[in-house]
């Protein structure tokens, strides 16, 4: 079973890298990009067989290591 964790800066935290990407897109002539937010995707290959147990474990992984919850939020998908 695989889990996909998406880590993003929390809403309200200024994403300076996303802003730089937005400016770069503008300079390439891509109009109409009102905002860009950049994050990271972490894929975990799990030996778990129970999806809900796996999700609980991945949530603990996120809280303890994968995300810094001071500034980041995360979303878990079991796939």
């Amino acid at each position: 079973m695989k889990a996909r964790v998406t880590v993003m800066l929390k809403q309200g935290v200024l994403d300076v890298q996303g802003e730089a990407v937005r400016h770069a897109l503008g300079s390439l002539g891509f109009d109409g990009v009102a905002g860009v937010r950049q994050g990271k995707v972490i894929e975990l290959d799990l030996t778990d067989t129970d999806a809900s147990a796996a999700e609980a474990r991945v949530q603990e992984m996120c809280d303890r290591l994968l995300a810094n919850t001071v500034i980041e939020s995360y979303r878990i998908e079991i796939v």
């Binding site: 935290v13 200024l14 300076v16 890298q17 730089a20 303890r64 290591l65 994968l66 810094n68 001071v70 500034i71």
Partner: protein, 221 residues
């Protein structure tokens, strides 16, 4: 007084930090990241600058889970002193020994230059400077943009736990914060490098007072 300076894979200011402690009169031990205990009688732990574990995942995140981190946490829990500089500050925030987080510099550039600071809190680390005194120290970081929620910032301000502020903030830090103290004022994290300003050949010696006062301040405690 005994200082223990940690070395992670990728630390690059560990020797400089050890020398700065030695010059102030500390007996210094070097501690490897895989060590699970600090030398007996350690008074202060130095967490140095660099790029611990390649700054993988987030700056300081992997170091905060290293074997020696548990020993640092126990040392702080019993009231021991901890000084984290640059990557060391990032490690201490990732360990949650200090509040807030250090994000990518607002201008996105790695900054390597001398900056002006003002000392603005009472502690064994900072009492060698007068309140409001200007202190010039080098910075060298890509992720020094100090960020904290409104409630945490109010607590830092109310309890006077902001140790140093930039005179002209180079990296976007909230409230010009360059360094913060723990609630018991015995853990200090700061982005500027006091250990890189302890010899006239460094171009400045404003960092010396921090180590000298720590030596004196802890001796009195």
């Amino acid at each position: 007084m005994k200082a223990a300076v940690i070395t992670f894979p990728g630390s690059n200011c560990d020797r400089d930090l050890a020398v700065a402690f030695e010059r102030a009169g500390f007996e210094v031990s070097r501690v490897w990241h895989k060590d699970t205990a600090l030398p007996a009688g350690t008074d202060v732990v130095g967490v140095p600058g660099g790029f611990s574990y390649g700054d993988y995942l987030r700056c300081g995140a992997i170091a905060a889970q290293s074997p020696v981190a548990a020993a640092i946490r126990a040392h702080a829990a019993r009231g021991g002193y901890v000084l984290g500089v640059c990557n060391g500050f990032q490690v201490l925030t990732e360990m949650r020994l200090l509040p807030g987080a250090l994000m990518r510099n607002a201008g996105l550039k790695f900054l390597c230059k001398s900056v002006g600071l003002t000392a603005c809190a009472e502690s064994a680390f900072t009492d060698g400077y007068a309140q409001g005194q200007r202190v010039d120290l080098p910075i060298a970081h890509h992720d020094g943009n100090y960020t904290i929620d409104a409630e945490g910032l109010a607590r830092l301000q109310g309890e006077r736990l902001v140790a140093f502020r930039y005179t002209d903030t180079p990296n976007g830090s909230m409230d010009d914060i360059a360094g913060v103290l723990s609630a018991n004022r015995r853990v200090l994290g700061m982005m500027p490098h006091p250990e890189r300003a302890v010899d006239p050949a460094h171009g400045g010696t404003d960092g010396s007072a921090l180590f000298a006062r720590l030596m004196g301040g802890m001796a009195l405690a």
